[in-house]
Symmetry: D2
Subunit: 160 residues, 4 copies
């Protein structure tokens, strides 16, 4: 099963007054993972960059393509305490459709830290939109080729 | 159909670089709506408070009960532009279980503003946890009595 | 002494793991107060709007003018607990220069709540920039007329 | 001049609707830099950790010491665009008093990226507070020894 492993660091401000990572902020971590894994960048790639082969989507403001978030679903399994080690966000595609795609995530404890904990699982559906026409546009050949190696069964949710 | 209407104001910082309310921040708006509608408060209620009859849950830090977020699901229908009028977040219970409950939301344009827009629909499942034992505790009689008038069919999702 | 009184509601997420309003979030509250007090809006003003006479600056994205933040200074006097009543942010101009202006703030407990507490004092310097030329542009006659009634002595800082 | 260099990554959500790092979020970056540089951690230090010699303050929730933020001052020099490389936040102590200390910051472009840009300069004053008595407590010998190598002239502000 080919999965991307995106290391995402917490910020102390991700904690809320309960002392755990806030449930809303967890979707912020997914947003960061998505950007690191799939957005193209002109910048010289630094050592710990991930997903260089999958980072082919130019979706920044001003670009030709907009990523429109269509839906999100997340299950919280274990509260996340503050840690300085980057969480290991495992990602794959649960579906590559015509103009839309589903990204699956499992939020895990930092690599190398024992015991292993699965904190959350989530899925988001994104529609690619042409910035000029504001209409959905098909996933391109280059994008599909880059992403297909990480296409797998959709995530199974436990609590739905 | 009995629904709570919770007015939630945007902050300018809810917008992201695309100029719309960020998809993660939209869950922040739901969090605020939930707190205003269901958390008890010792404070004198001001004029525009909502849900005074349903605000019976003492879930603040240090209280006897913790609200543990178990899952969230959200569908984004129309991007939300910046507006100064408070959004109208319509809420009801889709389920009142033993220790858990499902809250349903429809995020709508400000009351009185034309045309009416349904921006998003969402559902969250919350488990009540005893702060001391850290174990789920049953919904109490007073809570159930306060919330039952807003119990209705669960939200129908379009894009699942 | 003519001061604007801008009511700003906390969000629960403004608290950090210490259980008080986070020191960074306090500047977010100032940002909101500034926008409510000085940014023009096409929307019908709702009842509790403030600063309608001073809200003459069209500084939204896409507008002719950008507000460039040049500096901020803030003193934290008392930690802010969670409250549902809107804080009373008192504001005035400490200086109206050619293209720049200084806004002064005193963050106070909600109006009508005893005892009165002064939580923080702050000042920010803003430069008006022409969006096309990206160069500073002078404060206009209409803006100066609207803002001069709230021009007063600059804030005195205690801890500098 | 001994300065700490703390690498701080942006999140895409640090940008606001203007497409630059929001002026409030910049203080969030300073918060992160401060925590990485000065807070003690039980965790095994990962490779790119900084300030291991200065990270001696146990100021997490539940710890004996609270860090109370007394004041902050920041000058914004150049807007920060989105970048994936971590910014280089240079830090030192401008003053080590009895119970309070001043931290100085210069927010710079990522190390190795040309041209070098100084985006902002800032200073914050922090008071160490005993968690039990809630009163200021003196900087300890171990803390002073760890921090003195990075004691230097306070930052000079340009726009005050």
């Amino acid at each position: 099963m080919a999965r991307l492993h995106v290391p995402i660091r917490l910020r102390w401000s991700d904690l809320d007054a309960y002392g755990h990572v806030n449930n809303v902020e967890m979707l912020r971590l997914l947003e960061e993972a998505r950007i690191q894994a799939f957005w193209a960048s002109d910048e010289v790639t630094d050592e710990d960059a991930v997903g260089s082969s999958t980072a082919v989507l130019d979706s920044s403001p001003g670009a030709d393509t907009l990523s429109f978030m269509a839906r999100q679903e997340i299950e919280y399994l274990v509260p996340i305490p503050y840690t300085r080690q980057p969480l290991d966000i495992q990602m794959w595609f649960g579906r590559l459709g015509g103009a839309s795609l589903e990204i699956c995530y499992v939020v895990c404890s930092p690599i190398g830290v024992e015991p292993f904990v699965e904190y959350a699982r989530a899925a988001t559906t994104i529609v690619l939109v042409d910035a000029k026409t504001q209409r959905p546009r098909r996933i391109g050949d280059r994008e599909r080729a880059a992403w297909t190696p990480f296409l797998d069964e959709p995530l199974t949710f436990i609590k739905r």
